[in-house]
Every structure is written in C-alpha cells, then in structure tokens.
C-alpha cells in the first residue's frame, strides 16, 4: 500500500545484458562466433516515496539511472526486481487507466507531429485520451493561456523554435490533466528565457492542480527554482533524498567568507582563519566550517583591514559535484572496479539516448569523471 503517496519505489533495480564488442576486425569476427556479454546494473535498489502535490528534483550525471527510473515508474520498462506503485497502480500492469493519470515529457524525444502544426497533435491527443468537447475546450484554453502558445499553434512544428516546441509539447502532454508529471530534461537546450517560461508553467500547474512532479534536469536553476526536495542518484544508486539546504549541510558543511580588503595582505595571514580559495589584489574568499563562521568572522574583522565582508553558501552545483566526487573516491578506495565498469557501460547505454551533449552531468559543475563509453550494444 502507498499510504496516500503518489509514487512509491521499493528496492527498484534494472539490469541490462550488454554485448561487449572488441575493437578491430578480429574482435568483430570473434563477437560473431563467441559473443561476450556483461550485466549492467542501470538502477540498483532504489527506494523513495513522493507525496501528492510534491515537486521533486531528480539529479545525477549521464547514465546515473535517472531516466531508467522514470521509465520504470511510467510503465515503459519492466524492473528486474523491486516494486513500484504510482497513483495506486503497478505501472507495468496499469494499462490505459494508469496512463490517463500520468504524463511523460521527454526533452529530447517529442511527441509533436513534426510536419503538422501543434494543433493537430492536440486534436489527436483529444481523441486518444477520449476527452469530451467541453473537457478539451477547457484544457486547451487553460494551456494556451498559461503557455502563451495561441500564436504558434497553427505553424508547422518544424518551423518552431526549440522553446516554442517544448511549450507546445507540454500542452500536448497535459491536455488530459494528469495528476502526475514525469518531466525528463524539459529545458534541455533551451535559452534562459525559455527555461524560465517552462519553470513558471510547471510551478503554476502544480499549484493549480495539485499535481505531483518528478523532474530531471541538467540545469540546477530548474531544481533550485522548483524542487524543495531532491533525489540524487549516481551509478544506479540513490545517494541522497532530502532538502536542498540539508544537502549542503551534509555534503559541504562550510560557509564562504568573501572579503574586500583595504590593502593587500599575505595569504598566510588569511589562512589562520580558514581555507583560502581565492586571493586576488584586494579580494579574497575563505571557506570556513559552518559552526566556526561567527567566531572566524569576528576574529577576521578585528585582525585584518576588512572593507567589506559577506557570508554565503557554496553554489549548489558545487555541492552536488562534491557528492558525486565523494562517491567516486569512495568507490576507488574500496577498489570496486566492477562497479566502475558498470557505470561506464551505463554511460554508453544512456548516452545513446541523446544526453551526450552535456557530459558534465550538472551544468556549471566540475565534471565527475566520465570516461569514454566502450563500444557496446544492448542485446
């Protein structure tokens, strides 16, 4: 039983069997007669629950298992083990009644009919979802208004900008008023204005209809603007489930002191108060443990010629990158080479799906090591 939750995942795992191709002609011929396979764990023992009306961000680098998890939750993929319950349904067996309750929006693979105006996809979805004329009119009017697409519905999709296409895609996907939205990279490749328009819409849809939203994005701004709670996944395992603020406390329990000095000072003088990360002319940045901030600030002000002092949290991109980097280091220390290989293969499997454009995983964040994927195909 979900106990009222919108989404429940219990020990979800998904393993692919992957054919390994060796390089060169001999390897290719060998693979014909003696194919080699290896198991790739795309998702491993992932558990969480999401309450109705929540907006949850799902973060992780390419091949981490985000999209695979979403595809299990929407009934596209059959989990190797574990259990999922979404809107009270087993997604795999829920059939049409389940599909009517959800919407899946894929930033890199859209359902709009390429050669026709978006209006035609809306009309098609009206028929597919069996909406009455009144339901259709109401939903269309609301979506056209909130997504501001009145002027572009009659232009062929291929002539629309990426941002316009995504707004129309959302209209097509939400025409049936789903209570659960699975948004996989909805702002992928959009400019800042278009990203903000999508965010504003998702926020408004959530507020107006009380919809539950699970959102993956490479853009931290999407997550910080929309999702008070985040799930962080890497190498198929859930690393973190909680608030963004608590994440910073846990992964990077530091504050930044940004100083403007009246005159240049020696690095050694600054290092008495914390770790110096920047020192340029009259400007310096120090990292100080959270619990020491008040004391360090007071001592700094007394000891050095400080013209200005500001205390900030480290950017969330950096916190997330630290989470991934910390996990990678732990894996290497523990010598889990097999896990490393599995993660590499996952990168190969999912990168084929169109996320290959941004290998860093999190925009603006230092890149966690993502080696080139081996030449493999899912068999």
């Amino acid at each position: 039983m979900t106990g009222g939750a919108s989404i429940v995942a219990e020990g979800l795992s998904k393993t692919y069997r992957v054919k390994v191709r060796q390089a060169g002609l001999a390897g290719a011929l060998g693979a014909i007669f003696r194919p080699r396979y290896r198991e790739v764990r795309a998702v491993e023992d992932v558990s969480f629950r999401i309450e109705p009306g929540e907006i949850v961000g799902f973060l992780g680098p390419n091949g981490a298992g985000k999209t695979t998890t979403i595809k299990i939750l929407t009934g596209l993929l059959y989990p190797t083990s574990g259990r999922a319950e979404v809107a009270g349904f087993d997604p795999w067996r829920g059939g049409a009644p389940f599909k009517r309750r959800i919407a899946l929006v894929l930033g890199n693979k859209q359902q709009l009919i390429w050669d026709l105006p978006p209006e035609e996809t809306l009309l098609l979805n009206r028929a597919i979802y069996g909406l009455s004329d009144a339901e259709y009119r109401r939903a269309r009017e609301e979506l056209v208004d909130s997504l501001d697409i009145g002027g572009i519905l009659d232009k062929p999709v291929r002539q629309l900008s990426q941002g316009e296409r995504m707004r129309c895609e959302l209209a097509a996907a939400l025409l049936h008023r789903p209570e659960l939205l699975f948004l996989d990279e909805p702002t992928l490749g959009l400019d800042l204005g278009a990203q903000e328009a999508i965010r504003a819409f998702v926020r408004e849809y959530n507020r107006r209809h009380g919809a539950t939203v699970l959102l993956t994005s490479h853009y931290m701004a999407d997550v910080t603007a929309l999702a008070p709670r985040v799930l962080i996944i890497n190498r198929g395992r859930l690393l973190y489930d909680g608030g963004l603020a608590e994440l910073a406390d846990r992964i990077a329990p530091i504050k930044r002191l940004e100083l403007v000095l009246e005159r240049e000072v020696d690095r050694a003088d600054l290092e008495r108060f914390g770790t110096v990360t920047v020192l340029e002319d009259h400007k310096a940045t120090l990292e100080v443990p959270r619990r020491d901030v008040a004391r360090a600030s007071a001592r700094l002000l007394a000891a050095l010629p400080v013209a200005d002092l500001s205390i900030t949290d480290p950017p969330i991109e950096e916190v997330i990158a630290r989470a991934f980097a910390g996990e990678a280091t732990e894996g290497e220390v523990n010598g889990t080479g097999a896990d490393r290989e599995a993660a590499d293969a996952r990168a190969g499997t999912e990168a084929a799906g169109g996320h290959a454009g941004d290998p860093s995983g999190v925009d603006g964040a230092p890149s966690p090591a993502t080696p080139a994927p081996p030449r493999e195909e899912v068999e």
Partner: protein, 271 residues
C-alpha cells in the same frame, strides 16, 4: 474501464486524418513510391507479354497476363506494409517511449496509418486501371459483384496478414538491429512465392506446393486470382480463405508473443 466504440471511432478518425495530412506534406515522395510499386509488376508484365507472344504459357495468354499483373499492381498497393521500417526506428531510436506512455497500444497508430495510405493509393490505381480498360479491352474484368465482393474480402485479409508480418518483423528490433534485413529476406522470397514474378500455377509443382502452405500466396496471389477469375472452384476458394484465417491467427499469436516478450526486454534507450 473499457473504451467505448465511439472513443475508438474518434481515435481512428483522428489518426487517419493526421496520416492524410502528413501524406499531403510528402505528396511528391508518395507519387514516387507509387510509381516504384507499380513499376515492378508492369515490367514483369512486359516480359511475360513478350514470352507469350501470340500463344500462351501454361494456359496464360497475353490478355491473361495483362489482367493478372494489373491485379497484382492493385492488390500489392492495397496490401503494402512498410511497418517494419517504422517499428524498427521507434524501438532503436526511442520513439516508442512516448507512444507507450499513452493509453493506446501503438499497434492502432500503425493500423490507422495503413488505412490512410491504402485508401488513397487503391482508389488512384483502380481509377487508372479503369481509364486504361476503356481503351485496352485486354485488361477489362467481367463485372461480377459476387466475385468482386470475395476479392475485396480476400484483399482485406491479405492486407491484415501482410501488415502483421511487417509489424512483427519490426518488433524483432527488441532483440536485434537487423530486423529490416530479416524483412528484406522475406520480401525477396515473396517475389516468387506470393505470385509477383509469375502466377503460382507457372511455378514448378514442388515450389508451388510449398508456397501453398506458407502465408506468402495469401498476401497477393490468392486475392489476385479471385479478382481476375483464375480461381473459380468453390472448394479452392474456401480452402484459400481457410489458409488466410489460419495465417492471420498465427501471425496474431506471433504478434502477442513478440510484443509481450519484447516489451519486457525493452531497454528504452533514446530518452
């Protein structure tokens, strides 16, 4: 909750409408495909016309060949199925994903697309045949409503079998990247066993008897022979319909098997 007949009628109406509208965008390409589809039986007819000369080959004179291959052109277009190419791409490039998220099996989209295309091409070819028949008596068919009705029924069943073979071949992309190559192989075999290159009665008896128990002749030759009046024996016609129903059921079972197994195996790459 089961969807009502009205919901399904609206779905098919909307899907067929969308199919037609997309076809209008690609009208030049469609005319080229149509010409290509008609060219093969037309060239084959020219060869047999020349071979028959003033006499006959295995009971087929020039006019018989003309009627036969005109019927092949029509029935081939009426039963044409290209779904293997689409389904293969849907699976390999992740275009199946959003289709699986809708409350409708993607099979219906493919069926509607077939209806949309065939509706146009059949009317066009029938019209061209009619106009040619005005000037060339050799390709005229006797007007027998009963025979035309039986031919129409056999054509619908043939189209359903051919559609399912193509769709099931496409679903093999769940396992292999060579689904379209497997379909090409079957197309090559069908040139001979479906009656495209020559009427089945001209094939060596051993080959014809093997063909008779496979699905190939029931996709083209059987409706062609009813339409042209080559097949008149009631028992043979009933046996033909029996084979059609058998192969339709067999391919439907194959579809169910491949679809349910394939979906479990699906990697859903491609976003």
């Amino acid at each position: 909750m089961t969807d009502s007949l009205r919901t399904w009628a609206r779905r098919y109406g909307a899907l067929i409408r969308a199919g037609w509208m997309v076809d209008v965008q690609y009208r030049a390409a469609i005319v080229i495909w149509l010409i290509l589809g008609v060219a093969q039986p037309a060239i084959t007819l020219a060869v047999w016309w020349s071979v028959a000369g003033g006499g006959d080959v295995g009971g087929f004179g020039q006019a018989d060949f003309a009627r036969y291959f005109f019927a092949v052109m029509l029935i081939d277009q009426a039963t044409l199925a290209w779904d293997v190419w689409y389904i293969d791409r849907w699976i390999r490039e992740g275009e199946l994903n959003f289709r699986l998220a809708r409350p409708m099996n993607p099979l219906h989209e493919a069926i509607a697309d077939n209806i949309a295309y065939k509706g146009k091409s059949v009317v066009l070819i029938a019209l061209v045949w009619f106009l040619i028949a005005v000037f060339w008596p050799a390709v005229r068919l006797p007007f027998e409503p009963g025979r035309l009705g039986l031919a129409a029924l056999a054509t619908v069943l043939a189209a359903a079998i051919r559609f399912l073979t193509s769709y099931v071949n496409g679903l093999l992309a769940f396992w292999t990247t060579r689904a379209t190559a497997i379909a090409e192989l079957q197309w090559g075999i069908s040139l001979f066993l479906a009656g495209r290159i020559a009427p089945l009665s001209l094939l060596p008896p051993a080959v014809a008897s093997v063909a008779g128990v496979l699905w190939f002749p029931y996709m083209i030759a059987f409706p062609v022979e009813i339409l042209t009046g080559t097949l008149t024996d009631t028992g043979a016609i009933l046996r033909g319909f029996g084979w059609q129903l058998f192969w339709l059921a067999a391919w439907a079972v194959a579809y169910h098997f491949v679809w349910t197994r394939g979906r479990r195996r699906y990697g859903a790459v491609g976003g």
